[in-house]
């Protein structure tokens, strides 16, 4: 190992130790290491097996599940569970997992890779497998747009990598075009599938290759489904591992992969199913028996869960964690509300758009299919936070009955006005705003 790389390693480990002492799980150590030795990753001795996961949604959940399966099957896994997925974070965890000679002491490296930074990280080391979950309109204030993200993920892909792709997402599947050995996962027709795109926009309308119109046999959600270009013939590739069934009966939920591997789950949300399928495909790709993968995944409870139940005064409710700046995640939460036949109310909180950066951009509210709420009986609708006016205009133009709508600047005001509902309250918001409601509902539970 070169002296500069060694110095970087020592500094990283020292800063990491200090950071731990002060309780900061940041990527600062990696930042210092990169300053000292920009190509530090190239100096590490990595295990032969490595898997990276990227895409718009579900990276953390997929990585968490893959790690669980691997550990359950006797692998020693190094992975960035602290979720810092940009290059500094990757350096921090890899140096942390290595000895003083720069040898990473694990059987496998598992990596959550930020879709914008993978091109920097993979300059120095190539994961053997790269899983790409999906590409949506997500955080476009920093991600530009899906086609741009596709082009920069493209810069991170090398010939020696095996791609594991979501076959049902046209933009993702297009990475596998003319690339032998690509592994695909996808879903067969499922209950709840649609024959037409229900969204405000349709990112599957035109072919990502030739831009001519595409035709879908069915949609699982948004632009995810069985597609075919009528012009150039680009179509949903042949699937290696398929989600073949989802069941949710009498509180017992399960999914089936490849017609035979049944996995018990806590909910059958389509998002969640794809993450499980991605994890299943990645784990079988490295050679673990599918039966063992299925049994490891069965009953696994995600640490990064997105549902919390609460009581607020007399009101019973559930928080559906969604992502601001991501209309697809809001659309899924709206599906949950619409699918509930009880008497219910909905609260939408948009107060801080991101916890990581400042923006006032609320244009993504116009990409969410709030119109769908008209398909079900809703008691009251609470529009809350700094962007309550933007929400109010959006809901008005969605044609939603204005008598049901209440608008509040702060979460506290909203909470004070919905603590005595005889309808079930769904709260839809993002990581950046969830504590504003959770702190209130928790406090009231205690008193």
């Amino acid at each position: 190992m070169k002296i500069r790389a060694f110095t970087a390693l020592v500094v990283c480990k020292a800063v990491r130790g200090l950071a731990k002492l002060f309780g900061r799980g940041s990527s600062l150590p990696g930042k210092y290491a990169l300053k000292i030795c920009p190509d530090i990753l190239a100096h590490l001795e990595l295990p032969e097996l490595s898997i990276a996961v990227t895409g718009s949604n579900g990276k953390t959940s997929s990585v968490e599940m893959i790690a669980h399966v691997l550990q359950n099957n006797g692998y020693k896994v190094a992975y960035n569970k602290e979720g810092s997925n940009q290059i500094e974070g990757v350096v921090t965890f890899l140096l942390g997992a290595s000895n003083m000679k720069g040898k990473v002491l694990s059987d496998i490296v598992l990596l959550e890779a930020d879709e914008r930074y993978a091109r920097h990280t993979f300059k120095y080391f190539h994961p053997k497998y790269l899983v790409i979950n999906n590409l949506y309109r997500d955080q476009m204030t920093r991600n530009g747009h899906p086609e741009w993200i596709k082009s920069i993920i493209g810069q991170a892909i090398y010939d020696d990598m095996t791609l594991i792709l979501n076959a049902d997402d046209p933009l993702v599947a297009s990475f596998g075009k003319d690339r032998e050995g690509t592994i695909y996962f996808g879903a067969r027709i499922l209950p709840g599938d649609k024959l037409r795109n229900e969204g405000v926009y349709d990112d599957g309308k035109y072919c990502p290759i030739c831009k001519k119109p595409m035709k879908y046999e069915y949609y699982h959600y948004n632009h995810i489904g069985k597609f075919k270009c009528l012009h150039c013939g680009f179509s949903r590739p042949k699937i290696d591992h398929a989600l073949t069934e989802t069941k949710d009966e009498n509180g017992k939920a399960s999914i089936t992969i490849d017609d035979k591997y049944e996995i018990s789950v806590f909910f059958t949300g389509i998002y969640h199913c794809y993450n499980i399928l991605a994890a299943f495909t990645a784990a079988t790709a490295i050679g673990i028996e599918p039966e063992k993968v299925a049994s490891s995944l069965s009953g696994y409870v995600l640490k990064s869960g997105r549902i919390s139940d609460f009581t607020l005064g007399k009101t019973q409710g559930r928080l559906l964690l969604s992502k601001h700046e991501n209309s697809v995640s809001y659309d899924r939460s709206i599906d949950v509300v619409v699918g509930d036949s009880r008497k219910k109310s909905v609260m939408i909180i948009v107060d801080a758009i991101s916890r990581k950066y400042y923006t006032s951009d609320s244009s993504w509210l116009w990409d969410i299919n709030f119109e769908k709420l008209k398909e079900t009986e809703i008691d009251k609708i609470f529009l809350v936070g700094q962007y309550c006016d933007d929400l109010a205009v959006r809901f008005d133009l969605a044609g939603i009955d204005q008598d049901k709508v209440q608008v509040y600047e702060t979460v506290q005001e909203a909470a004070d006005n919905c603590n005595n509902l005889d309808s079930y309250l769904y709260v839809i918001t993002c990581f950046s705003d969830k504590e504003k409601i959770l702190s209130i509902v928790t406090r009231r539970e205690l008193t």
Binding site: R142, H145, Y201, K211, T359, S360, D361, S363, Q386, R394
Partner: protein, 244 residues
């Protein structure tokens, strides 16, 4: 009385909730007493009928925008006649780029623009220029708030009518937006008519004028509050040039 909104490439150039502008115009025109018809065009249409009362085009992938430009260029004559005749038109996001002399794409290709304004844009794929901005129109001191999300920067600002008085993020511009007759092109993306009710009023009153109908002043408090809150937040924040 019926008014027609021509929504150019609604399914191709609608990347940032741009559809909101059409919905806001529809509502405001209905509030003026009009019956509103919306006509969506696609890049595969054989013709575009510019006999409209309002024309709108939003943002898209650069690849989509380039195809839209190629398609629109076929109807340049009738588009320019409509501009000269004072048809109110709004081009937001990267559709504003194609109103100029042209666009140099990331691979170095020069695409000839519609030539209404003198600027041309040069694009790259390495990074996005994104950020919240406050624009101030030099002539009127009107302020516009919104978000920029683009791949290109202009080579000339001589036709641009607004100063960028605050930029939060990575957007290397000092000026933006261009006007001629009742056409406005502006870099801001998404439903700019929500956060900038003065622009919505400009277009609605221009449409009323052309229809020979008296424009009724109607107050939209949510829209005004959204503008004021955003303007205040953007002017006050010290997030400065913090990278995303």
């Amino acid at each position: 009385m019926t008014v027609k909104i021509l929504y150019l490439y609604a399914d191709f150039m609608n990347l940032y909730g741009d559809n909101g502008n059409v919905r806001i115009m529809q509502r405001r025109l209905e509030d003026q007493g009009f019956n509103v018809v919306i006509e969506n065009s696609t890049v595969y249409d054989d013709d575009i009928d510019f006999d409209a009362d309002f024309v709108y085009m939003g943002s898209g992938y650069e690849s989509n925008r380039n195809l839209a430009l190629a398609h629109l260029s076929r109807f340049k004559g009738s588009l320019l006649r409509a501009v000269v005749n004072g048809v109110p038109m709004l081009f937001t996001g990267n559709s504003y780029d194609l109103l100029g002399k042209g666009i140099t794409t990331a691979d170095g290709t020069f695409l000839e623009g519609l030539g209404i304004f003198n600027y041309s844009f040069k694009e790259q794929l390495e990074k996005r220029y994104t950020g919240d901005v406050v624009l101030e129109e030099v002539a009127t001191k009107d302020r516009f708030v919104g978000f920029v999300n683009r791949a290109g920067i202009p080579d000339s600002t001589e036709d641009m009518c607004c100063d960028a008085i605050k930029v939060i993020g990575n957007v290397p511009i000092t000026k933006d937006a261009a006007r001629v007759h009742n056409l406005l092109g502006i870099s801001l993306i998404g439903p700019v008519l929500l956060k900038n009710p003065n622009l919505a009023e400009f277009f609605v009153s221009a449409i009323c004028n052309r229809k020979g109908i008296e424009y009724k002043e109607i107050f939209y408090p949510r829209s005004t509050r959204s503008h004021e809150k955003t303007l205040k937040a953007l002017l006050e924040t010290d997030a400065g040039k913090k990278a995303r």
